[in-house]
């Protein structure tokens, strides 16, 4: 029994570490309405194409919140650069939306989408 426990402790510890490190493809997925990054991006894109800038502004705020939720969940398994780049794209997007600049907003939306895809890609 003692021997089993002695082997089991390091094995379980290693499994736990591995789960922490490779958990991001699962953890980046949406668990509620507030953290669905791809869906929010889709909504903002539709608003921008339809010149609906008031809704786009609300959408970007929602996207920022969703990105923060995802960041706190995947922070132990994802490299910081991807999370920071996504954050910066959202900040820039806010400016483009404020200026009703569809080209800039769409470009940053594409960037955020790419950063989200990079999470959990090794």
């Amino acid at each position: 029994m003692k021997k089993i426990v002695a082997v089991l402790i390091p094995v379980l510890l290693l499994v736990f570490f591995i789960l922490i490190m490779i958990g991001d493809p699962f953890l980046k997925k949406s668990f509620s309405e507030d953290d669905n990054v791809p869906a929010i991006i889709k909504e903002i894109k539709a608003d921008v194409i339809n010149d609906n800038w008031a809704d786009a502004k609300v959408g970007v705020d929602e996207l920022e919140e969703a990105w923060n939720i995802i960041t706190s969940r995947v922070q132990f398994s994802t490299d910081r650069q991807v999370l920071d780049d996504g954050d910066l794209s959202i900040v820039r997007m806010k400016g483009f939306v404020e200026a009703n600049d569809s080209a800039g907003t769409l470009a940053e939306l594409g960037a955020v989408k790419r950063h989200w895809t990079h999470i959990g890609e090794y």
Partner: protein, 242 residues
């Protein structure tokens, strides 16, 4: 993102991974490490450090790199244990640098081992007179093993035909004020006996003892927390503060 928290988690992952895997690697002593083992150690430590502080990299590929290095070491260890030829090929062989009192210049040249290295390592072994050396072997670890000429070897009790008592490894009976009951049982003694022995030495309770062993000669070695030394030998010439 809480950077400090992420670093703490990554540090713990690296720490316990190293702990678990180095335990798996076995009990190879630092002094027996070859130069390659030494470099391996530095590389593995460096990857573990990067895993902890390089937050701009995913931890998983780094961890995999760390584990791959350690598993490669483990694989080589297993190969060299199972296959003597591979062991010689990978780790190299000890080289005789002094044979029958003569320095083997060709062997030393091959190893890029200088005469100053040889004399330094001989001095380290307490040999200041080259003429006393019969054999000197440069081990795989880089250490020098020296066999002095028979006339320069210390006299042993056997040479003098003196009978000696058996001397083995002592058994720890008290560690940090606590009786090690398993060991006590192993040497066929009980707590009653231990208390009686301690009382004979003027010790009333086990908690007064820091360390006690039963030697193979049957003698009980006891060290108390209170050493009662009146004239302490102070080798320090530094006043402080620490």
């Amino acid at each position: 993102m809480n950077e400090a928290l992420v670093e703490v988690v990554r540090a713990l992952i690296a720490f316990f991974t190293l702990l678990i895997f180095t335990r798996l690697l076995g009990k190879q002593q630092m002094s027996q490490l070859t130069f390659f083992d030494y470099v391996l150690g530095i590389t593995v430590g460096s990857i573990a450090a990067s895993l902890t502080i390089e937050l701009t990299y995913d931890p998983w590929p780094m961890w995999l790199g760390l584990v791959t290095w350690i598993l490669a070491v483990l694989a080589f260890q297993l190969i060299t244990v199972k296959w003597r030829y591979a062991s010689k090929y990978i780790d190299g062989e000890p080289t005789v640098v002094i044979m029958n009192g003569m320095i083997m210049e060709a062997a030393m040249k091959k190893l890029r081992y200088r005469i100053s290295d040889l004399t330094e390592q001989l001095r380290d072994k307490g040999v200041f007179d080259m003429s006393q050396v019969e054999f000197a072997v440069l081990e795989v670890s880089g250490k020098l093993s020296v066999l002095k000429k028979s006339q320069h070897q210390p006299v042993t009790p056997k040479d003098m035909n003196i009978k000696t008592k058996y001397s083995g490894i002592g058994t720890e009976l008290i560690y940090d004020g606590v009786v090690v009951e398993n060991n006590l049982k192993q040497v066929n003694r009980d707590k009653k006996w231990l208390q009686k022995e301690l009382k004979r030495m003027g010790i009333n309770d086990v908690s007064e003892v820091f360390f006690a062993t039963l030697e193979t000669t049957g003698k009980l070695y006891v060290d108390r927390y209170q050493d009662h030394i009146k004239n302490k030998t102070d080798i320090s010439d530094y006043d402080g503060p620490y």
